[in-house]
């Protein structure tokens, strides 16, 4: 290990796997033509397992790679990854993964926060044309006659509530399904799942 980046071997193994999960989830959703992204599963997973720092690192690398490989519109949305890592780390400490209903409630709350933030980014920087299924929702709302800011806000908001809700519920389910051998290595997540 060098003098500049001091992270544990566990995080060294976990970060590439989580980034790969983010990238592959995005590809699976695209193949299924679903109006969600699910490209934050790895970020949420690492934020639950090791806290905000790990989640933010995974989110940053993922968004950089997604941005470079599919278009730079993704790059400013790195802020959403950080916000999500922060909210999920808070949810983990406050027992947000203790039961399915608490997980769903935190999922909706995270979705609302991230939806509001991504609507602002999508409108101010890209006038709503960010790519992905959400643009079709925005376009449909424009056809109905809604002004662009309203269409972008509704499109991004609803998509993000759904997207982040699914991601957080999926990670909560995974947390409960993980073998004790693995979960035991992450005290933060073990406590969150046992609460």
């Amino acid at each position: 290990m060098n003098h500049y980046l001091r992270i544990s071997p566990r995080l060294f193994a976990l970060v590439p796997a989580a980034v790969a999960i983010n990238l592959v989830m995005g590809a699976i959703v695209k193949e299924l033509s679903l109006p969600v992204y699910l490209d934050t599963v790895g970020t949420v997973l690492v934020a639950v397992l090791v806290g905000f720092g790990g989640g933010a690192l995974v989110g940053t690398i993922s968004q950089l790679l997604i941005g470079l490989l599919t278009g730079y519109q993704s790059l400013p949305f790195v802020v959403i990854q950080w916000l999500l890592a922060l909210l999920v780390a808070a949810a983990t400490r406050r027992g947000g993964f203790a039961s399915v209903w608490r997980t769903v409630a935190w999922g909706v709350a995270c979705g609302l926060c991230c939806g509001a933030a991504s609507a602002v980014i999508a409108y101010l920087l890209f006038r709503g044309a960010t790519g992905g299924g959400v643009v079709w929702v925005t376009a449909a709302l424009r056809v109905v006659g809604l002004p662009l800011p309203v269409a972008v806000a509704i499109g991004s908001g609803t998509t993000d509530v759904l997207d982040k809700g699914i991601v957080i519920v999926a990670v909560g389910t995974l947390l409960r399904a993980l073998p004790r051998r693995i979960l035991g290595r992450f005290p933060l997540a073990a406590r969150a799942a046992a609460q």
């Binding site: 290990m1 989830m25 193949e31 278009g71 730079y72 376009a139």
Partner: protein
């Protein structure tokens, strides 16, 4: 071996970053369109033509969305469309500008990715005394993305063989998601756990300088190309500030 693969890993990386920076710096549609053509020429002439094809496949759907949302449904003065009806003038202009900029970035990145050799990059990073942790993280991430992508493909085929439907109504497609996602997540978590043990026992955490056993040659043409890329970006920034 193609020119892109023969070049020092930092050279292709620098050219890619320079093209991305220029795409963000240049303002007019003509300039970004010219840069897109230049990117295609560079990719094809260095043997990274696969990046051009995959770039086109990546950006084509976004071009359609940009045209629809800004050109057809956009606000501002309307202009006559060649096929009848009208289009938003400012919207169309914005869509073209964004579309070409996006194409440059996707094509340059994908061309770089198609010729990227993780081993050579890691060796070059060690030889330059770069942060080994950061270089390893980048290489391990790209490697993991490839492996997990392949696992996802195999899993999809296996689940389809077991009767899972991945096409059809929204409900059917959404219903297929857990069967595709959960096995993959569990597998990657187990693999990450095993890998952590392997990294620890193989001395990843050792301190001190490392030895590059097979560093790639950094030739004079490589250095010239990197300097030219730097000068091009600098010129672009100066031109943008002055105009």
């Amino acid at each position: 071996m193609t020119l892109a693969r023969r070049a020092h890993p930092f050279t292709s990386g620098t050219v890619t970053l320079a093209l991305i920076a220029l795409a963000l710096v240049l303002s007019s549609t003509r300039q970004t369109a010219a840069l897109y053509i230049a990117t295609i020429v560079i990719a094809l002439s260095t043997g990274a033509g696969r990046g051009v094809r995959t770039g086109l496949v990546t950006v084509a759907p976004i071009w359609v969305l940009l045209f629809l949302l800004q050109g057809v449904l956009g606000d501002g003065a309307r202009i006559a469309a060649p096929w009848g009806g009208t289009l938003s003038g400012p919207g169309l202009h914005w869509a073209l500008s964004q579309g070409t900029r996006l194409a440059v970035i996707a094509t340059a990145s994908l061309a770089f990715a198609s010729s990227f050799d993780p081993h050579r990059f890691l060796q070059a990073a060690i030889a330059r005394r770069w942060s080994f942790g950061a270089a390893f993280l980048l290489v391990a991430t790209l490697d993991a993305a490839d492996r997990l992508g392949e696992q996802a493909r195999q899993l999809r085929e296996a689940q389809r063989a077991r009767g899972l439907h991945v096409t059809g109504s929204l409900r059917t497609r959404a219903g297929a998601l857990p069967a595709l996602v959960f096995p993959l997540l569990l597998a990657s978590m187990t693999e990450a756990d095993d890998r952590a043990l392997a990294l620890e026992t193989r001395g990843l955490m050792l301190r001190g300088p490392r030895t590059a056993t097979d560093p790639p040659h950094d030739t004079a043409p490589d250095r010239i190309v990197r300097w030219l890329a730097f000068v091009a970006v600098l010129a672009g920034v100066i031109w943008r500030v002055r105009s």
